[in-house]
């Protein structure tokens, strides 16, 4: 057997969630990209246009779920990259706490922004 080089614990929850979020992100990122670069060009984005999109509950929920999964995938990826770098002990706990707080803050801010765009906050 070849050696395992992955940063993740084999069969761990972090490993599995990283892959599940990845599969979701590939699809939604493709949608997001085509929506805002081909259907509407980024340079033509207006507040009114954004409001019109975000008012649809389905779009709103997709975008919030997109934010949550992307944040999880990014934070979990960074954390595992640092653990792989040799992070240990108290440093490991501090880094996990800082990354978790940053991730939750990003989700909170992003969700609030989406609510404002939809006119619900």
């Amino acid at each position: 057997m070849a050696e395992r080089y992955s940063s993740f614990t084999p069969g761990g929850t972090g490993w599995l969630l990283q892959r599940i979020t990845a599969a979701f992100l590939v699809v939604v990122l493709a949608f997001h990209f085509f929506q805002l670069h081909f259907i509407t060009h980024a340079a033509d984005v207006t507040f009114a246009g954004t409001q019109a999109r975000m008012e649809h509950v389905g779009y709103f929920l997709t975008m919030v779920l997109f934010l949550v999964t992307a944040t999880f995938h990014g934070i979990n990826g960074v954390y595992n990259a640092l653990v792989n770098q040799g992070l240990d002990g108290i440093q490991k706990k501090v880094v996990l706490a800082v990354l978790t707080i940053a991730g939750l803050a990003l989700i909170a801010q992003g969700t609030y922004v989406a609510l404002v765009m939809a006119g619900w906050a």
Binding site: F33, H41, A43, T46, F47, A48, L67, T71, Q109, G110
Partner: protein, 143 residues
């Protein structure tokens, strides 16, 4: 039979000349991952101008007072450097996606003997998609 040996610190970048295709794939995946999470924070920060916009605030864009959100995004999009960075972001995202799919295959044990070839394929496909996207990204912007 498994055999253990000390292969040294994996991320000893001083050993870059010894790196194989798989190692480069791993480094590029990390680099692009860092870029993408960094961008996500920046993206939400820029979109937060919607809060000021909903409050009725305006900013000046080309001598006109426009909605704070519209003005922020269109002001950024009018900059050549932002368009170049967007193409860079696309390249980074496409590579991360393609190599991510490659990693999934590696994890599942599919096509392990071709993992170096699939890395080169990811690189080439990233290059092609990036070049093909340039006209769309550069539309209507001057130097």
């Amino acid at each position: 039979m498994s055999q253990s040996y000390n292969r040294g610190l994996i991320e000893d970048f001083g050993r870059w000349k010894e790196f194989s295709a798989g190692m480069w794939a791993w480094i590029f995946h990390k680099f692009t991952g860092w870029m993408l999470i960094g961008y996500l924070f920046t993206h939400i920060a820029v979109l937060s101008s919607a809060i000021a916009a909903a409050d009725g605030q305006t900013i000046m864009l080309e001598g006109e007072a426009v909605n704070a959100y519209t003005g922020t995004i269109q002001g950024l999009e009018s900059l050549f450097i932002i368009r170049v960075l967007e193409v860079g972001l696309l390249a980074v995202a496409v590579f991360h996606i393609l190599n991510g799919l490659r990693l999934l295959m590696v994890d599942l044990g599919i096509g392990l003997e071709a993992q170096d070839k699939s890395f080169y394929a990811s690189l080439i496909l990233t290059g092609v998609i990036t070049v093909a996207s340039v006209p769309t990204f550069m539309q209507g912007v001057g130097l």
